[in-house]
Symmetry: C2
Subunit: 498 residues, 2 copies
């Protein structure tokens, strides 16, 4: 994430093409669509109002699902004693190198340094020790919306920033099976929000031993394919077993009266999801957002060269906007903006709304008014059609629905077109022997960390996950490891990842 | 905020009486009602689900008002270069001694230390420099929901914690007058949420020069009177003038084409509001919450000694709960919980719901069912009445309404009873010459910081504000300063403050 300013030779709505430089396209789009800005501290970002509004929509959809599934929110402290991190052996190894450390407070050096939370398992399990005594206190189903800090060397807007916003669920259960059920349930909540709200198809899978969360028994993941054929880990759900309960001595009395360690899960998604969303749907003209999470579902552009004309088109724009705001599509009333910038040309405004990702654009000019119609333009397909004003609300709700469904279908087809089965090492190496992504490669693997590391070293491809549902029934039949030739239980997904 | 554990001799729902020890009452109530818990780091707190649910209700009410008044949310970084704080002279003096400082990241010492934001003016105005060019970019109306850290020596649950949650609005305007209008508008938003949602009466006033925000032109405040007759500053709205624009060189081109510095406001309320809420309404049995922000508006306790009876009362409880959940009172559907704890006695449950602040309790026993009735108990007045089950929804919505209105009226009357006008220094000293609060004392003051400091030194009473609206027309007539005898324009409010 460099602080280089965007080149000034282009018009404000022009961005580098994906095909020229995907990375530059992504950065320019974010800056020019005003989703985010660079912060004074290296690797941090400012989430601007248009970006934050997307996060609010994602957050509200998730929060409603969490509550539906019996969870409550709480808030745990930002600052954690350094010693806490050390209580779980794998955990400290995974996180200590990435911590920001507070050594001074109120003008004095602290006796014990405090880390800015990179994740909250330790401080939460320290509290759970006091809150859990009996099986009647279980399950404990708590979620937190918070900021966390992880010191990163290579950062990228939204995808990998030093500070990010997220939610972290932390649950406690009486049995291994209940914790398993919870971690899987929340994985499916994530899948649902990604696909049904963000129109982002995900592969649900299990992480390998090497890629799992530091301190987990095992980790589930949702993996996304981007338009440049790389993978993004879009969220994870961990079955923590009893490791944190043992590290923080959290026992409960079961129904028989015996003391047992508690089983745990944790699960989280972050503002990174916005990065994945952009990389899946957006194009060379700017942001493409699925209607359910787009802050601007409809941008109305009333036009007119003189004030008398504008008075009429503006009045019609207001009338249509009011109708739309009173109309419910899916879970919420339609979100509309009227563009009244008088110093800009219609062409400028059309480009600007394409850049900013308004799902639909309604153009109302004096000639349209004469024929009691308007132009309706769809952001994803660029389809433009003339629509009678009396039908405009129906046309718009239908278009929103089509776009929501269409974006998911298109992304699913794109993913399908870029999944490949590879069975020889020669072909595997060749597939990954280029800059950039190569799609999802389904290949056999012998199940060892040694082979996994070796393949990553040679090709930069990592195992994204062991899919929970095969793309094809043959994918879960035994075979020979693509690198060692040893026995393999099923194909796993290899890809280059962000 | 000591880490001492609550004494174990009492039953879990028993707390120290207000009259015995108000401070101990407050701490015990918070811990036993499970609103919050102590954190491992001194001065920090965990906001437990029952406390956080109150915050969610306050936050949602505020957020809706902010959006109604044209504001959008954004997110700025937690970590701020230490040098930023130094750019505004008064600001650094006010905040530098209270900062937590990150000196190490990713295992290395940083070249420049970073402060954990105590407030975000500096990092936000650094960004506004890039976002504001012309009068067309103004006003810029941004709010942020965030955590902040201020190193505090004497902390107290909710009222003064090292880390707290808040919102901070930061706006930019073309003229002094527009900034003034904004700071006043947001003060009135706070007043509205405090009185109409939290049933907490506030005095809107201006802070003295000595008490204003570090870096502000002037500061408005909302001040609350607690049941122990002290004052709580419950929120502030600052007119920042051009100080931050000058410190960060933020100019805009006005309509004539001239460059001018921008005018600013900032305004914030915090989780401290929950502390004020408790101190205004709650009693010796526990939490009393106004219905609009109570997470549990109705607790239904179905009873029965044997399973066959319970089957019937539980079914009736479910039926009533479903009816209530489908009923809208004010802005939202009624929030109901059914208490199905079988190992606890009815008496235990009644006490427990009083402790936890359920607004209304519905008791359904086998005898009630025989007469198709139930018992409805109100938390604030302890009034209990028998209600026909067929009228239960109407009775409940009426009771919620009565309680919402009644709590505000009661708190206003209490405040009125504890406002006193004092005109001699002898009486003034005597009034404050005791432990604890003495109510709001309206007295004349000569307008100098010197006198203000001297009075505080001698009596521990501080000037809470210069009220915007007098309690009585005579309060704004000139008089003689209670300490120096010099001329005074109007009475101001003195009190001991949290």
């Amino acid at each position: 994430m460099s602080n280089s300013t965007v080149k000034n030779t282009k018009k404000h709505y022009e961005i580098t093409k994906q095909s020229e430089d995907f990375n530059e396209w992504f950065n320019e789009l974010i800056i020019k669509a005003e989703l985010a800005d660079y912060a004074p501290v290296r690797g941090c970002m400012i989430i601007r109002p248009r970006g934050y509004a997307i996060w609010e929509n994602i957050r509200d959809a998730l929060d409603a699902k969490f509550k539906e599934t019996g969870h409550v929110n709480a808030y745990f402290p930002l600052l954690i004693p350094e010693s806490f991190l050390k209580k779980e052996a794998e955990h400290v190894e995974g996180f200590a190198p990435h911590c920001a450390v507070v050594t001074h407070g109120g003008g004095k050096e602290l006796e014990e340094p405090l880390v800015v939370r990179p994740t909250s398992e330790t401080v939460i399990w320290n509290a759970y020790k006091n809150w859990i005594n009996s099986y009647r206190d279980l399950p404990l189903l708590i979620n937190q919306w918070a900021n966390v800090v992880r010191w990163e060397m290579r950062t990228k807007l939204f995808l990998r920033t030093m500070e990010f916003l997220w939610q972290e669920g932390h649950t406690a259960h009486a049995t291994f099976e209940e914790a398993e059920e919870e971690s899987m349930k929340m994985l499916r909540v994530y899948e649902n929000i990604c696909e049904e709200w963000m129109a982002v198809p995900v592969v649900c899978g299990q992480k390998t031993e090497h890629e799992k969360f530091a301190g987990a028994h095992h980790t589930y993941t949702i993996e996304v394919m981007t338009q440049d054929l790389k993978a993004i880990q879009n969220g994870t759900s961990h079955h923590l077993g009893q490791s944190f309960a043992k590290a923080f001595d959290v026992k409960f009395q079961n129904e028989k009266g015996d003391l047992e360690y508690v089983y745990a899960t944790s699960w989280g998604v972050t503002t990174r999801m916005i990065g994945a969303l952009i990389m899946v749907h957006s194009d060379d003209k700017g942001l493409v957002l699925p209607p359910r999470i787009s802050p601007t579902q409809v941008a109305i552009v009333p036009m007119g060269r003189d004030e008398a004309t504008r008075e009429k088109t503006y009045a019609e724009a207001e009338r249509v906007a009011t109708l739309l705001k009173d109309t419910k599509w899916r879970d919420a009333n339609i979100r509309v903006e009227i563009d009244k910038r008088e110093k800009e040309t219609p062409g400028f405004k059309f480009n600007d709304w394409e850049l900013k990702g308004a799902c639909l654009r309604v153009e109302i000019g004096p000639k349209d008014l004469e024929s009691s119609s308007c132009i309706l333009a769809r952001r994803d397909t660029y389809e433009k059609k003339t629509v009678a004003l009396e039908n405009v609300v129906d046309e718009i709700t239908n278009s929103l629905e089509d776009m929501q469904v269409g974006l998911l279908a298109k992304a699913k087809q794109f993913r399908l077109d870029n999944i490949k089965r590879v069975d020889t090492w020669e072909e595997f190496e060749k597939t990954f022997d280029k800059e950039g992504g190569a799609g999802f490669i389904l290949a056999h693997w012998d199940g060892t960390t040694e082979t996994e590391k070796k393949i990553a070293e040679l090709t930069k491809a990592t195992i994204r996950c062991i899919p929970l549902e095969p793309f094809h029934p043959d994918d879960v039949k035994p075979g020979k490891c693509v690198y060692t030739g040893n026995e393999s239980k099923q194909r796993v997904i290899f890809a280059k990842a962000y």
